[in-house]
Amino acid sequence: MNTPAPAEAIGVTVAHVSKRFTHAVKGEVHAARDVSLDVAPGEFLTLLGPSGCGKTTTLRMIAGFEMPDEGSIAFGGHDVTRLPANQRGIGFVFQNYALFPHLSVFDNVAYGLAVRGESGSEIGRAVGDVLALVGLAGYERQFPAQMSGGEQQRVALARAIVIHPRVLLFDEPLSNLDARLRVQMRDEIRALQKRLAITAIYVTHDQEEAMAVSDRIAVMNRGSIAEIGTAETLYHSPRSRFVAEFIGRANLVAAQVIAVRDGYVDVAALDRQLAIPRQGSALAAGTRCLLLLRPEAIVLGEPDATSGTLAGTVRTRTFLGEKIEYTIACAGVTLQVVRHSQGVTDAFAPGAAVGVQIARGAGTLVADASQGDSP
């Protein structure tokens, strides 16, 4: 199978870009404010955030569908801020696929090649190759309306990559598919992007999808980038309450810094003094902050009066196959706890008393929302 020859991967730089819209009801809306991104050549970067956070607007500005009010966008070091979409050399995959309903699969995929004035035989060969690549060989004469959602998605993908785009852009490409297909397609997209070594920017509101496909994730909130990092970094040591809560499930417990030691910060939380691994800039003693505990960082055991163990009561227990989820009332707060079900024969039924421990080395201190959230 012939893969489209990888174009030389280029980086994408978004510098201090802002965009305002006039909304009929809300008046002027800041869809994006001072957004800056640096996407490395061949990197897969995801813009993740809730609806209305500005991720799609940012992507559309990178594509050239919208012009930024301020700031600049560069592809491979060349400024493209004012370049219309048809001169940027991008491949775009829309949420609703945006297939041309009046054209066959072949003509849909051939469109971009025909625009570039390629010869008929060249187009035929390239379209055949790319359809084979996405697993749609033999579908040439079909029309979009005759195809399933997953097949339409593949056509959209084939149409975007057949022109050897310098940058591949995805706007929530999987959200119209059912759950199983979504997982399959995201793996295929990821594999294809790696194989073609194209710089890709991907927009989604699904944090699991973002973690599955991306090299790095940029979490956006209210028009701004809250944080950029790998999935691991964002999950284990987010810097803001928003990111902590948006990626994964989070127990956020009020905490106050007592002392900063070598490698550890002593905080008062959950009626105890806890030693939390020190990350990044240290918080001064006395600072009020939040202690982030992921559900799997809390260990349940038999009630135990020793100093390290907290007393808790099981509120709910949900069996989910490979794991069991609990909510535990402990020290005046409710904690979410996850345990693998393998080999577990616990009797932590609702109402039971449990001992609650924090796994060694777990926990991250996050600035309190009331002081440190994005503007």
Binding site: F65, N86, Q87, F94, A98, L99, F100, V115
Partner: protein
């Protein structure tokens, strides 16, 4: 009749299960047979049967008459020109409104100006055209100083009809253009196509069915238009509807007029078939949830935008200018001769014209609710109920809507003129004509609305224990209420403004404003004709405004606005 035989199977069981449904169905079939099928049969019989014998003499006489053949050719030529011109104009306006990022107020102003011809009596543009380009016209006589100008003929008829009917194309094409997912055009652009190429290879092909549909609608409208040619075509450019009218009112030759109207039926029938079986199945555009709401990117180059908007504004201003002339003519003693301001024409309207005005309003007052009810009930039955003969019922109900008014008028005249059933000269014949001719717009709106409503809503009601009646009253009726009010709007506008069918049906006892305006035109009482027209437009605008307000109140928060009020 084939129809009633088809409706019979399964009837007994239905009757016992749902007596109300069975009664309604029977009643509707009787009405359809009596007011739609019977007149057409009577018309055909009149032409082909003479003293109990089949004869082709009447139709042969028409088809061999050089004048009538010329009229047939003229009608087709006029229809084609108006179809093309109006579609181009309508597409230009629709494209400007959906793609040029015009400020909402500008779009709104254009909308109102463009709607003027649609809600006015169909010859209002023609009258304005006379005031502008006629023998004493503002431009021809006063500005250019041309004497002995002849405004009559193909060019002026075509221009006036294009201006009158292009809003139909605008109203059908605009939602279509708006429904094209802007991402599809964006996609083509991102693949490297120029704006012009996107327009040529994506936007235009997606609109082709809509353009064909608009052309057919305009062709049919022009073919059926009777008033504009009567005023503007003159002796040199006879067309079929006017010929049929003159045959009947001038020569008292009812059979000849009927035969002429049958000739008109042929192209009208072709259009009807083409629309139903060809265009109707080729629509690509489906309204998708997202995308459509997204702000379109700049899909038009700045130069193209300026040119297009300028052209639209020019046409809009021309329409406004024609209507302004109409208002002016209604306010001066004698347009073109004596420009002294006067309210004399309005005084005449409200004294000697008052009865006509009341007649028209009374007929509208009956036709409007009846037509609205008929539309909603039929639309509901056709969309939501399964019964034998359903498709037949839908097709039959659309016949008078699709036929040129001249045919319907002559058919009614023939059918209800002689015993056993004499309705001519009564208000009933006028009301019936309006109900069955314009009620179908309500059927269409109801069907469109119900097709968007998931049947599971009604199933949910049933599952909660509600019977058919309760479900209809509590669930279906509130859902179709917007369609009902929209149908009321269309019924009222048409009852106030239509002329082509009802001109054959007016009498000493019951006459209509539109007919009176035409009489005024021929008597050269131009000021009074203008004053009457202004009054009609004002009444129609007030009623539309009120119904629009009702539709806004009915709109559930968050739902799409009820469209199609005037589109039909």
């Amino acid at each position: 009749m084939v129809v009633s035989a088809a409706a019979r199977p399964g009837f007994g069981a239905r009757w016992r299960a749902e007596p109300a449904f069975a009664v309604a169905l029977t009643l509707l079939w009787l009405l359809l047979a009596f007011f739609i099928l019977y007149p057409i049969v009577a018309l055909v019989a009149r032409v082909f049967i003479d003293q109990g014998q089949f004869t082709s003499a009447t139709i042969v006489k028409v088809l061999t008459d050089r004048n009538q053949v010329a009229a047939f050719r003229n009608s087709l030529l006029l229809g084609t020109l108006v179809g093309v011109g109006g579609t181009v104009l309508g597409f230009g306006f629709a494209f400007a409104a959906t793609r040029c990022r015009l400020p909402p107020t500008v779009v709104r102003l254009i909308d109102i100006a463009v709607l003027l011809p649609l809600v006015s009596p169909p010859f209002t543009t023609a009258i304005g055209y006379i005031f502008s380009f006629g023998a004493r016209g503002l431009i021809t006589y006063d500005l250019l100083g041309i004497r002995n100008v002849s405004v009559y003929g193909l060019t002026s008829t075509m221009t006036a009809e294009t201006l009158t009917y292009f809003p139909i194309a605008y109203l059908t094409l605009r939602p279509m253009l708006a429904a094209i997912d802007s991402n599809i055009e964006g996609m083509a652009l991102s693949l490297g196509a120029s704006r012009w190429r996107v327009f040529r290879t994506v936007t235009l092909p997606l609109c082709t069915p809509g353009l064909a549909n608009a052309f057919l609608l305009l062709f049919a409208a022009s073919l059926a238009d009777f008033a504009t040619p009567l005023i503007l075509a003159g002796n040199q450019f006879p067309v079929l509807p006017t010929q049929a009218y003159l045959q009947i009112t001038g020569l008292f030759d009812l059979s000849g007029g009927a035969a002429l109207s049958l000739v008109l039926l042929m192209p009208a029938f072709v259009v009807f078939i083409a629309q139903r079986f060809w265009v109707g199945r080729r629509f690509y555009v489906t309204v998708t949830g997202k995308g459509a709401g997204q702000a379109p990117f700049d899909s038009v180059s700045p130069i193209a935008r300026v040119l297009l908007v300028a052209a639209c504004v020019a046409v809009t201003l021309f329409i406004v200018y024609l209507y302004a002339l109409l208002v002016y003519a209604s306010l001066v003693r004698a347009f073109g001769a004596n420009d002294t301001l006067t309210l004399e024409h309005y005084r005449a309207v409200f004294t000697e014209g008052l009865r006509v005005l009341f007649d028209t309003l009374i007929i509208a007052a009956f036709a409007t609710p009846l037509g609205g009810l008929y539309g909603v009930v039929m639309g509901y039955l056709i969309t939501r109920r399964r019964f034998v003969g359903r498709t037949a019922m839908e097709i039959v109900s659309m016949i008078h809507y699709a036929l040129p008014g001249t045919i319907v008028g002559i058919a009614y005249l023939i059918a209800f003129n002689d015993p056993p059933i004499v309705l001519t000269g009564t208000a009933v014949i006028l009301v019936a004509c309006y109900v069955f001719r314009y009620g179908p717009t309500g059927i269409r709106t109801t069907m469109a609305l119900l097709q968007q409503v998931d049947p599971s809503l009604e199933e949910a009601s049933h599952s909660l224990g509600a019977g058919t009646g309760t479900t209809f009253r509590r669930i279906t009726l509130p859902l179709v209420l917007p369609a009902f009010f929209a149908a009321l709007g269309v019924m009222f506008i048409r009852s106030m403004t239509a002329i082509s069918a009802t001109i054959f049906l007016v009498s000493i006892s019951w006459t209509l404003v539109t007919v009176r305006i035409l009489e005024n035109m021929t008597e050269l009482r131009l000021g009074m004709a203008a004053a009457f027209s202004v009054i009609v437009v004002i009444i129609v605008f007030i009623v539309i405004g009120a119904i629009g307000q009702v539709l806004r109140l009915l709109r559930t928060p968050g739902s799409k606005p009820a469209t199609g009020l005037l589109a039909a």
